[in-house]
Structures are given as structure tokens and as C-alpha cells.
């Protein structure tokens, strides 16, 4: 349904191929497409999709970082499997790394060392795989924040949001299983902590531990088991969910920022072929390149220094990878609570930070679009994004969650913070125990007030123009700054947002005076609606704008001595520079 009418190919740079798709004499690409279509019949689908329009904005490419780093993970991961041996069989290392020669270790660790020291590029691939994993999860998180802050999780995209949350969970599990595979001291310490988490599960804890490890910790089964989960089960699920995520993206068409010509009914941007394909494809190479350079320059997980896992050894700075840092931080700041009831032990100190809060956070995350949809009662589809300031409560909720996450994360590095900032590990912990509750509340309050102020500022700009920086002196000797109206397209963009609707509960009884069902939930909903949207600043009405502009232009006329209404940037010397007048460089 693309409206190609606007595209006049004669005016496009000549190097860009402009052969129409319906050429009478098919070119080489055309005949290949014919051949394929006669067998696959993809022509109908491709007709729409080859020139499918994608809007262009940097924040729309964050999810792409995740996608491309996942591809890098698949490629480097396959390379690693060619040498890695997922076995806990005990052998004596006789390889190239002097400092561990003659030391007993598992075959998994020995093959990791072999891969690192004797396979050319092996260490590079290991480090690329690890960096790509860190970036994969980080970019999913940043992408999630972008989606939420701009309201892209609203109808009809709620299910894609849930898929995204599952991808985040699976990515984290995939990271943890991969981190455990080398069987070095750090990963073994992580597995032992995981054993402690399992054992803290009420009733079945010790059984779960014995089943996972094939007996008593550490056993000889856990690495082969984690391996198959890492290379087959989770990647399979990830691939499937990523495919679903992308298909829904294509079906819904990408959201876009509001602006002139951009409405809820259309999508404005560049066609998939060639621009978007080039930009996305180019970005793949950039992600791959950045990961390769990081893998070559920055050491990650130097397993040879940790040595093989030995349950009697430990190192300072025993931390999980960053994405497991926040539950680890909760674990560190949790007081040592444990109760014994009827002779059975309940370890709150492990259950709360590991078995209760993280799953709860995930559920809250997945429910966010549904909670919001219920409070607004809004059943419309939304394809225009909102600026974070225009949804102050939503923005503040996410900032509060981020603050909680960030504080827990920092608590997970409390020992490193203590040595790097020369502070006291105990005081950091005490501080965090309080901050983890107060921080999010404070962050919520500050963010919401901040957003509302920004909304007010937008209205000021709309009604009274922008500050020109020109100081006027009036005949009485008073000073004032001259404001000039903003240009019409920008003004439209600022007003291109919905008004918020505060819901009110109807009568509790119907006409006959009988109590209505659900009146209680309706009241709750009305209260929440007032709490969430009642404070927001709404855009000015046409009448308000009219009144303000009339006044402003009159003022400007008087001030500048012009005999016509002052327009836009005529009032100041902010001229748009053009390259033709002032070239950026010698031509």
C-alpha cells in the first residue's frame, strides 16, 4: 500500500539504481525473482514488504543492537563449540599455560585453556562471545526502556512487550549458563551460590540440588547439562521468540514520533529496500566490528588467572556478570533472617532476594502495559509515540524501577566501590538497605515533578514563543526579554499529543437504586486515573493559542517597529545556515 507517488526517481542521485520493478525486459535481479516466484510464490508478500516503510530515529535502532549481537553470539558460539569439551572428567593440565601446568582440572576447563592459548583466534572468539553477551542483554534493557518511555508498549503491542520481557529473561539465563561453562574458579563459585539458592527452596530444596547436580554438589553432571541448555534449548527458544518479535514488528508497522504529516493512520520514513536494508545491514557490521575490537583489546573473564574450580578456593571480587548483579546486590544487603518452624528451616535471607523479588519484578514488568491499559480504559491503537514528559506518571514509574535496579546493582559491587572510593563496605551496605526503599520513591517524585515542569515549559513555548536572548528596554526603563513565536511545524509537533482523560466513577447504583456490580473496582480505577493523570499539564486549546498569539504579535510589532506581523525567526538573527552559502569544507 506504499504510496510511491512522492518518489520521483529521476531526481534521485544517479548512482542509485532506479530501474522500475515492472520493467518490460527483466534485468538479472528480476529474472532471479521470477524464477523464485514461480516456485515459492512470494511475489504477493514481497510486493508490499520490499518497499515497506520504516521511520528513522536513533532510538529505534537499540533493539537492532540486541538482534545483531545475538547473531554475533551465534557465529562466535559455533566456533567455540568446535574445541570446547563439556565434560567434568578430571585430568591434569599439560597445555601451554605454564602457571597451571600439572594442575588437576576438569576437561571443560582444560579445553577452555586450550581454546584460549593454542587455537589462533580462540581467545579472541571467546572474548567476543562474552562481550557480545554483555552487550546483548544490555541492549535489550536499553531497548525496553525506550519502548516504555515512549509508550510503544500500548495497544496493539502489549504481546510483543511480553515477548520482549521473556527474551530478557531467557537472555539472562543464557548468560548465566554460558558463564558457568569454563568451570573456572569464578564460575564455579557462581554455581555453588546457585546450589545455595536451590537449597533455600522450601520443602524440595535439597532434592532440587541433588537432581540438578546428579548427586551432591559439584558432581560431574552439571556442566554437560548446562551446556545443552546453553547451546540448544535456550538458543532455540530465543530464536523462536525473536522471530515472533520481528514478525509482530512487521505486522504492526513501527511506531513513529508525531510531527507534520505523521499520524496514527500512517507511517512515514524510508523504504526497506534500499535505505533501511542498507542502514540495518551496515549497523550489523558496525556491531560486529565493535564487538571484535573489544574482544581484541579488552580482557574479559581471564579464566587462566582464576584457575580451575576448586570448592575450597575463592577470590575477592567474586561477582556475577553485570546482568546478574542486581539479585546479587539484593542478596548482599538482605539482613540475615532465617526462621525455623516445626524444625524446618526457611531461609528468608536467600529466598527474598533470589526466589521472590526477581520473579516478582519480571511479572510486574510484563504486566505494565496491561495495568496502564486498565487505568486509562483506552481501547484505541497507538502508533504515535509519546515524549516521556507527556506521560509523567509512567515515566516516573519506570525511573523508580530503574532506581531500584540501579541501587541493587551498585550493592552487588559494594566491595569494589569500597576499595575504589576508599569507603566502608559495612556503611555502604547499611546505606543501601535504606536507599533501596527510599530511592525509588524519591526518584518517582522528582521525575514526575520534572516531567510536569517540562510540559509546562512546552506550553509556555507554544503560547509565548521561545526566548530570543534579546533584551528590550521599555520607555519606562524596565527590561524584558523578547520572545518570538516558534515556527509552525515545531508548534504542531508540540501539540500533536492526546489530552489525558481522568476517569470518574459513575453512580454506584443504577436508576432503580440497586447497587451495581464492579462499582468498587470502578472507584479504584477512577482513583488511580486521577493519581496518574490528574496532575498532567494539557496542551493549550485553539482559543488559548489564538489569544496568546494575538497579544504576542501585537507586542512584537510595537517593539520592532515593523508594519506587518512578525513571523518566526524574523525577530532574531538565528538564520538556518545552508551549505551552499557556507560550505562545510572546500569542494
Amino acid at each position: 500500500m506504499s504510496t510511491d507517488a512522492r518518489l520521483d526517481t529521476s531526481k534521485v542521485a544517479r548512482t542509485n539504481g532506479s530501474t522500475p520493478a515492472t520493467a518490460s525486459k527483466p534485468n538479472r535481479a528480476g529474472s532471479l525473482a521470477n524464477w523464485a516466484d514461480e516456485r515459492l510464490g512470494l511475489g504477493t508478500a514481497m510486493k508490499k514488504n520490499l518497499r515497506k516503510v520504516f521511520p528513522d530515529h536513533w532510538s529505534f535502532m537499540l533493539g537492532e543492537i540486541a538482534l545483531w549481537s545475538f547473531v554475533v553470539l551465534l557465529l562466535t558460539g559455533v566456533f567455540l563449540t568446535l574445541w570446547y569439551n563439556p565434560s567434568m572428567g578430571h585430568i591434569t593440565y599439560e597445555g601451554s599455560y605454564d602457571q597451571l601446568r600439572g594442575v588437576g582440572m576438569s576437561e571443560a576447563m582444560a579445553s577452555t585453556l586450550h581454546l584460549s592459548f593454542d587455537v589462533r583466534g580462540g581467545l579472541l572468539m571467546r572474548q567476543m562471545h562474552h562481550w557480545a553477551a554483555m552487550i546483548f542483554i544490555a541492549s535489550m534493557l536499553v531497548h525496553l526502556l525506550r519502548v516504555y518511555f515512549t509508550g510503544a508498549h500500548r495497544k496493539p503491542r502489549e504481546l510483543n512487550w511480553v515477548i520482549g520481557c521473556l527474551l530478557l529473561l531467557l537472555g539472562t539465563l543464557e548468560g548465566f549458563t554460558g558463564y558457568s561453562l569454563p568451570d573456572d574458579l569464578l564460575s564455579g563459585t557462581g554455581i555453588r551460590a546457585a546450589d545455595g539458592f536451590l537449597k533455600a527452596t522450601p520443602v524440595a530444596g535439597s532434592y532440587m540440588s541433588f537432581f540438578l547436580f546428579g548427586g551432591e554438589f559439584p558432581g560431574e553432571s552439571v556442566i554437560p547439562r548446562l551446556y545443552i541448555v546453553h547451546v540448544l534449548l535456550i538458543p532455540g527458544l530465543l530464536l523462536g521468540l525473536i522471530a515472533a518479535h520481528m514478525m509482530l514488528l512487521v505486522y504492526h508497522k513501527h511506531t513513529q514520533w508525531p510531527g507534520p504529516g505523521r499520524t496514527e493512520q500512517n507511517v512515514v520514513g524510508f523504504p526497506m529496500l534500499p535505505v533501511y536494508a542498507a542502514k540495518a545491514g551496515g549497523f550489523f557490521f558496525i556491531v560486529f566490528g565493535v564487538v571484535a575490537i573489544m574482544g581484541g583489546l579488552l580482557t574479559i573473564n581471564p579464566v587462566w588467572k582464576f584457575g580451575p574450580y576448586d570448592p575450597t578456593k575463592v577470590t575477592a571480587g567474586s561477582q556475577p556478570d553485570w546482568y546478574m548483579g542486581w539479585p546479587d546486590g539484593l542478596l548482599r544487603i538482605m539482613p540475615g533472617w532465617e526462621s525455623v518452624i516445626f524444625g524446618y528451616t526457611i531461609s528468608w535471607n536467600v529466598m527474598v532476594p533470589i526466589l521472590i523479588v526477581p520473579p516478582l519484578m519480571l511479572v510486574i514488568l510484563m504486566l505494565l502495559p496491561f495495568i496502564e491499559g486498565w487505568i486509562t480504559g483506552d481501547k484505541r491503537e497507538h502508533h504515535l509515540l509519546q515524549r516521556p514528559r507527556n506521560a509523567p506518571t509512567r515515566t516516573a514509574v519506570m525511573v523508580a524501577l530503574m532506581t531500584f535496579y540501579g541501587l541493587a546493582w551498585a550493592a552487588g559491587g559494594n566491595d569494589i566501590i569500597a576499595i575504589k572510593l576508599e569507603s566502608d563496605i559495612n556503611n555502604i551496605t547499611y546505606f543501601m538497605r535504606v536507599a533501596i526503599f527510599l530511592g525509588p520513591l524519591l526518584a518517582f517524585w522528582i521525575t514526575r515533578r520534572w516531567c510536569i515542569s517540562l510540559q509546562r515549559h512546552d506550553n509556555e513555548t507554544l503560547l509565548h514563543g521561545y526566548e530570543t536572548g534579546i533584551i528590550m528596554r521599555d520607555p519606562q526603563g524596565g527590561y524584558s526579554e523578547r520572545h518570538a513565536p516558534i515556527d509552525g511545524r515545531r508548534a504542531y509537533t508540540l501539540t500533536a499529543r492526546d489530552r489525558d482523560h481522568v476517569l470518574t466513577a459513575g453512580e454506584d447504583t443504577d436508576e432503580a437504586g440497586v447497587a451495581k456490580p464492579n462499582s468498587r473496582t470502578e472507584r479504584v480505577r477512577a482513583k488511580l486515573s486521577a493519581w496518574a493523570f490528574g496532575h498532567n499539564v494539557q496542551k493549550p486549546t485553539a482559543a488559548e493559542l489564538e489569544a496568546a498569539h494575538h497579544h504576542e504579535s501585537h507586542e512584537a510589532e510595537l517593539q520592532s517597529g515593523l508594519d506587518h506581523p512578525a513571523e518566526g525567526r524574523a525577530m532574531d538573527d538565528h538564520q538556518l545556515r545552508t551549505v551552499d552559502e557556507a560550505p562545510l569544507r572546500e569542494r
Binding site: 541433588f210 573489544m294 548482599r332 484505541r380 470518574t504 493549550p540
Partner: protein, 374 residues
């Protein structure tokens, strides 16, 4: 909170039209929103051209730049090959500025090769490909009304023909039989591992077993230890020899016993030890022995401060006071470290009086039931 009233669209404005019953939006519902646009949509602006569109020289230059990036990428790949075949790894790494030359050179050349392709393509897209914005109309996510009606009709027809609604006996037994298939799925996992039994409650320590230094396996004479000493120690059975007669341990069994048997032995001034009831004779002249495995989630701990007699877990910072029955003074652990009762054998070496009286390491559901009284 007077600021709300500055809002140009006060929620309490009289324009609200509440209707009885349902929840209503105070300004008349969502449908009204679009009509309230204070500024009309000016529409997409006119397309402006890039220097590369209008200036053949600029166009040529951009073309050369893109091609140069692709060519440089090829150079990087050649450098990668050179690095691959000339830089040694294995026994004798070539080094560069204190770094492993192979990893560094392969990473940087491969990275640059990839990056230059990426930069080239993006440059191409930005400067040379058409950048006229296009508009495409959206369609609602839902299927057209008639399609949906058709689907529902088909679904109902299918269900009706199957008779699943009319034959509850068939339906319920089918559901039951499929649900029962969950049992084999669960039961089949039973052999993932043995049942715990009382394995978690016991370690390899036993009466008379010597306490030996970890790694080297030498026994510890009481007279060897000075005040302030910390020994990371192990049960002698982990270092079997003909002399001591302990059987060889292998694989999983060895690792499991190692994981449970590790201890720390410290010596402090005997008067610093706060005696715990029933354990008065568990230490020898200020030499005292505790499990090395944290009671929180099982990390080995040995960050011992000899001045305070505190020992800290590097994983989650639980701190135990070894002078005071290893009770928790800080952090998330809930229980003291289990103490190993010590005595001295005829030759003056440290030996265990017995196994630990309680399970070592992380808590678990049945833990309390498996503790013994000394």
C-alpha cells in the same frame, strides 16, 4: 500544589459530560481528542536535496569515499591473515606492548574490516541512496469484521461437528488422559540424581583424622602455629597415601568431600576466645577450627582479620567472629560457621575429635533435623 490549577485544561473544568453508569472521560471521551487539535497538521514538508543530489562533484566524492572504505576493509582482512600466520600463540606467544599480540592484532584487524564495511554501507545510504520520505498507510491490527465473523462461524461449526460440547464424557476423559501424560514427563526426570538421604549432614571428618594444610597436604603441629596464623586446611583423607592408609577418592566423590571438608584453622590468644557452652575443650591453646564454607550460600571464606578475629565472605560480605563462636556480626548469613572439635594426637599434630555436629554450608529445609547434639 497550586500548580495543577495553572493547567490550561483543568480536569475539573465544566466541559465534562458525565453520564450515568460507565466510567467516563471528563472531557467527553477519546473520540473528542482529535477534534481538539489546536494547530492543524501542516503535512509533510517539501523535500530538500542533499549536496550529493545536486552537485555531481559531491556525488563523485561520496562514491569514492564509500569505495575507499570497502577497499580499506579488504586491506584489514589481508592484515588479519598476516597476523594469523605470523603471530605465535601456544607455548610462545608473540607479545606487543605487554599484550598478547595475536588476540590484539586479530581483533583489531577483524574489527576494522567489519567496521569499515558497516561505515561504508551507512555512508552510501546516507549520501547516495534516495532519501525521499515515503508514507505508507497503516491498517488496524484486528482482521476485517467479516473475516473475523467468518472465522468464528467456522470455529463454531467445527466444534459443533466434533460434538465436543455435547459429549462431556469423551471430552473429560480426553482431557484427563492428556493431563496424565504429565506424570511420565515428571517421573522420567527422577533419575537426574540420587535422593539426598543424609549426605548433606556428614562430611569426611571423623575422630582422629588429622587436619592438614590445603594444597600441600602436610599435617599441622600445634607448636608450628603462631598467634595470628591462618591455615587453610583440609581433612587428611583428601591426601591419601600409603602412610595414612586413606582410600583414594575420585571424581565427583572427591569434589563433594572437598567441598564439604574445607576448614580454616586460626590461632589467637586463648583468653580472647569467648567460650561456647559445651565446646570448652574444642580448641587447643587458642587454636580453633571452623568450616570454611559460608552458611549463607556456600562460598569458601578466608578473609581473616587477625586483629579483630573476624572472617569475611568475599561473595556477599557475611562476617563471622571466630573468637565468639563464629557468630554472624554482619551480612546476610543467618547462622554461625560450624565448629570442628580439635584435639592433638600422640605426635603433637592437630586432629579432629569428631565430624561436625551440624550440616556445613548453606541452609536447607531439613537442616535442623539433621543436626546432632555434641
Amino acid at each position: 500544589m497550586s500548580d495543577e490549577h495553572m493547567s490550561p485544561h483543568d480536569p475539573d473544568a465544566p466541559e465534562s459530560t458525565p453520564s450515568a453508569g460507565a466510567l467516563v472521560a471528563r472531557d467527553g471521551g477519546h473520540a473528542a481528542a482529535h477534534h481538539a487539535d489546536p494547530i492543524a497538521d501542516p503535512g509533510l514538508g517539501e523535500h530538500t536535496w542533499r549536496p550529493t543530489d545536486v552537485d555531481p562533484k559531491a556525488e563523485k566524492r561520496a562514491e569514492r569515499q564509500v569505495a575507499a572504505m570497502f577497499a580499506l576493509s579488504m586491506v584489514c582482512v589481508l592484515l588479519f591473515l598476516v597476523a594469523y600466520f605470523t603471530l605465535d600463540v601456544g607455548d610462545d606467544w608473540t607479545t606487543f606492548a605487554g599484550l598478547g599480540a595475536s588476540t590484539l592484532a586479530l581483533g583489531v584487524t577483524l574489527g576494522m574490516a567489519l567496521l569499515l564495511i558497516g561505515l561504508g554501507i551507512i555512508h552510501w545510504a546516507r549520501k547516495l541512496m534516495a532519501d525521499v520520505e515515503m508514507t505508507e498507510m497503516r491498517h488496524p491490527a484486528a482482521s476485517p469484521e467479516e473475516d473475523r465473523a467468518g472465522t468464528i462461524a467456522a470455529l463454531n461449526a467445527g466444534l459443533d461437528e466434533s460434538g465436543i460440547g455435547r459429549r462431556p464424557l469423551v471430552r473429560n476423559t480426553l482431557l484427563g488422559s492428556v493431563a496424565f501424560l504429565g506424570l511420565p514427563a515428571v517421573v522420567l526426570l527422577r533419575d537426574l540424581g540420587p535422593l539426598p538421604g543424609d549426605k548433606l549432614a556428614h562430611t569426611i571428618w571423623e575422630k582422629g583424622m588429622r587436619v592438614v594444610r590445603d594444597v600441600v597436604g602436610t599435617p599441622i603441629k600445634v607448636t608450628d602455629m603462631e598467634i595470628g596464623d591462618l591455615v587453610n586446611a583440609a581433612p587428611e583423607a583428601m591426601f591419601p597415601s600409603e602412610e595414612n592408609g586413606y582410600p583414594e577418592l575420585h571424581g565427583a566423590e572427591e569434589q563433594a568431600e572437598k567441598a564439604k571438608g574445607a576448614v580454616i584453622v586460626v590461632r589467637m590468644e586463648p583468653e580472647n576466645i569467648i567460650p561456647v557452652e559445651g565446646r570448652e575443650d574444642w580448641s587447643i591453646d587458642g587454636i580453633i577450627c571452623y568450616s570454611k564454607i559460608c552458611t549463607h550460600v556456600g562460598c569458601p571464606i578466608s578473609l581473616y582479620e587477625r586483629t579483630t578475629h573476624h572472617v569475611l565472605c568475599p561473595c556477599h560480605q557475611s562476617t563471622f567472629d571466630l573468637a565468639d563462636g563464629a557468630k554472624v556480626v554482619f551480612g546476610p548469613a543467618a547462622r554461625p560457621l560450624p565448629q570442628l572439635p580439635l584435639s592433638v594426637d600422640d605426635e603433637g599434630y592437630l586432629v579432629a575429635q569428631d565430624d561436625f555436629y551440624e550440616p556445613i554450608g548453606a541452609s536447607y529445609w531439613e537442616r535442623e533435623k539433621e543436626s546432632r547434639q555434641p
